[in-house]
């Protein structure tokens, strides 16, 4: 039950120095080389109306092993094509503070580890526009 992810980044920011980044990983359980065995599957959520910060991935509603030695991964993508609109992505920390990770503009995607310690580590999003905007997302977990 392998889950693999590869990234390839190419850039011509510097004309005289070609930039290329490549990496691949197999998603294993923490401290092992045993494959992750659970996933939420690929989901999609559409937002419209007055923008507000909402929970996208709720720790308590996801059957993840909570905190400690875990190697969960979260994938999120803004499926829109408009680079002028984006979703701010946040993580709520243990002190109920909300930490901004960054903004996913049209077509931008992210893949990150997720500790999912408790309900204070929900993943939250804030669309920049009242127009229809869509995210797709998945959690791969143990």
């Amino acid at each position: 039950m392998a889950t693999t992810a590869s990234i390839n980044i190419t850039s011509d920011i510097t004309e005289s120095l070609t930039t290329s980044v490549s990496a691949s990983m197999t998603m294993y359980k923490a401290d092992t080389t045993i494959d992750l065995e659970e996933t939420t599957g690929l989901a999609q959520r559409t937002f419209s109306g007055t923008p507000s910060q909402v929970v996208l991935i709720d720790v308590s509603a996801t059957a993840v092993t909570a905190g400690g030695a875990v190697a969960h991964k979260v994938y999120i993508r803004n499926t829109g094509t408009d680079k002028t609109k984006g979703f701010k992505i946040f993580l709520a920390d243990a002190a109920d503070d909300i930490e901004e990770i960054g903004t996913l503009y049209g077509q931008d995607w992210m893949l990150m580890p997720w500790l999912a310690t408790d309900a204070n580590e929900d993943i939250m999003v804030l669309p920049s526009s009242s127009e229809k905007m869509t995210l797709e997302y998945a959690v791969f977990h143990q």
Partner: protein
Amino acid sequence: MATTTATLTLSSDMLSSPINISASTNLAKATITEGLELIEMGRGTITEADGSKTAEFGLPTALGADKAAKLFFVNNSTNPEHYIDIDLHDTNIGRLYAGDWMFIPFGMNDTASEFVIEAEPSGATCPYEFALFQEPQTLVTHS
């Protein structure tokens, strides 16, 4: 105009219907289609004995509010028990175990957006690599 393209290929056979994700994006400045123009790349090694450290890239030259940046970071350890704890300021995101990588939008709004790393467990040594793509910094007056 500079073009930086990040492509993800993800496949999983956990489900009876496999998940196959192919995603590609051109990394652009905030709210426009013009490409990012600044790269920081490098490598380092962090050990458990180092404790919790702010990574050497990005800060202290914070981009300011609502700018665009993307960060790639990989733990190149080959020991499956050696991981790097990843924090944004004082918020723990998660652990990158040996070979794990991450790619995130990076707010870098202010110095509170620092990217903090810590190798674990006891005795761990984790080589890592990073690439930060961002909007240009404001030039400063010379001293």
